[in-house]
């Protein structure tokens, strides 16, 4: 490959190196790098002068070494305040309000000095799946348009339900009474019954979607669907080591919260645009079903 460390160009910016001039950045330096529409924290592993410019082999902090790659200086930036702001902004645009993918869970994003600092190195961010798909595009010099985000619009009355849920639990110190009837599992069953009645069959693909939702619900309930006020209740309802599935004791209130997090979870699947569109339709139909049965499925007041 031929290192060209002896080809030190005078045009290279002075990066304040003491020893070898490797262009704008130096080995071991932590810099910000564009990859797809977002900016990531990286560390420069190697620097080489190739074809009249400096190239840097970067490692994305928190990601597996498989993602390490050669990039030009055009994709890199010093971690100045201004650039860090830029990074924050891009993440923000992808997260939070809209149900977009490529979200980095809040706990890991900044230097959350506390708990996760030590773990951050080993945790890939949520955008992983997205990164795979956009690989061929990663040579872009500037951030491209964010990938199509899976937007799952919630019907208005269900949004109101979420806000009331938020008020009950976080503002009024109330909790839903467990176990819930109907449970999440019951609701899925009612939905398939409804579809069978209406269409005569339930498509394979829909079965997978519903099973997928259930799987997500069971795994993600304790991880991201609970308000802090509900943790104690969860701990006693699902004791450590028991095999009780959350989908058998929690109900519509918590299922609805899953829909807020759903696109974030789906990022891991790296699903193609068209498949996402299909999925969107199926989810929208399910949400309408929830809406039609709102008074039966949701509590109007909590204990």
């Amino acid at each position: 490959m031929g290192s060209s460390s002896d080809v030190l160009t005078d045009e290279a910016e002075d990066s304040g190196d003491e020893n070898v001039d490797t262009g704008q950045f130096k080995e071991g330096e932590k810099v910000l790098a564009y990859h797809g529409p977002l900016i990531y924290d990286t560390k420069i592993q190697k620097a080489e002068f190739r074809k009249k410019e400096w190239k840097y082999f970067v490692h994305y902090l928190g990601w597996s070494k498989n993602w390490d790659e050669w990039v030009g200086a055009d994709r890199l930036m010093k971690p100045t305040e201004e650039n860090l702001e830029k990074q924050k902004k891009l993440f923000k645009n992808q997260t939070g309000d809209k149900l977009s993918k490529g979200r980095v869970p809040a706990g890991k994003q900044k230097s959350a000095a506390e708990k996760d600092e030590s773990k951050t190195e080993n945790k890939p961010s949520v955008g992983r799946g997205k990164k795979r798909k956009s690989d061929p595009v990663s040579e872009a010099k500037s951030p491209e348009e964010p990938d199509h985000a899976l937007k799952i619009p919630l019907p208005g009355t269900l949004k109101r339900q979420l806000v009331e849920d938020w008020e009950f639990v976080t503002q009024m110190g109330k909790l839903v009474k467990l176990p819930r009837f109907p449970s999440v599992q019951d609701i899925f069953k009612k939905y398939t019954d409804f579809k069978t009645k209406r269409d005569g069959v339930v498509e394979d693909s829909l079965v997978e979607v519903l099973n997928g939702l259930r799987s997500y619900f069971d795994k993600s309930l304790p991880a991201m669907l609970l308000y802090p006020q509900e943790r104690a209740q969860y701990a006693s309802a699902v004791p450590h080591g028991s095999d009780i599935s959350p989908s058998s004791i929690y109900g519509a209130e918590h299922l609805l919260r899953l829909f807020v997090k759903l696109s974030e979870l789906l990022v891991y699947t790296n699903m193609e645009h068209e498949a996402l569109t299909q999925l969107q339709h199926k989810l929208a139909d399910f949400l309408k079903f929830l809406q039609r049965n709102q008074s039966n499925f949701f509590l109007t007041s909590y204990g």
Binding site: P124, D204, E208, P222, L225, R257
Partner: protein, 133 residues
């Protein structure tokens, strides 16, 4: 986990109860050469699909959405419907599904406890409606 034909998922979810036409081989009227080509195409599309949908994810919580994605991908490109079981059978040709284990990523996601928070936009939208009503 993981037998092949009658795959019973670990998470206790139900498998589909509606069968779709199996991936039928070409009729005997077509030449042996053509048969080979179709087979090759199928396998190519599968390998293409695996580049998008990581098979290792089948061992974890994303299993069903991965299957959903694979089913969709194959149907789109081969103009043929595959049931989840059929997709798994096809996968079995290339991977030892028994050896798949949940990803590290999933373990970290599950262990990392994050409090739920309602997106500002929803809160604001509903509050605005309340004020104006």
């Amino acid at each position: 986990m993981g037998d092949h034909v009658q795959q019973k998922p670990r998470d206790g979810t139900t498998s589909s109860h509606r069968s779709t036409p199996a991936a039928t081989p070409p009729s005997s009227a077509s030449s042996p050469l053509k048969k080979g080509t179709q087979q090759v195409e199928l396998e190519l599309r599968l390998l293409e699909a695996f580049a998008i949908y990581r098979p290792s994810l089948l061992a974890g919580m994303h299993r069903h959405f991965i299957l959903f994605g694979l089913m969709h991908h194959l149907e789109r490109r081969l103009n043929q419907r595959f049931s989840p079981d059929e997709v798994l059978q096809l996968l079995d040709r290339f991977f030892n599904l028994d050896l798949l284990e949940p990803d590290d990523e999933e373990l970290e996601l599950v262990n990392h406890k994050e409090d739920f928070s309602l997106p500002q936009s929803i809160l604001e939208e509903i509050k605005r409606k309340k004020i104006s009503s």
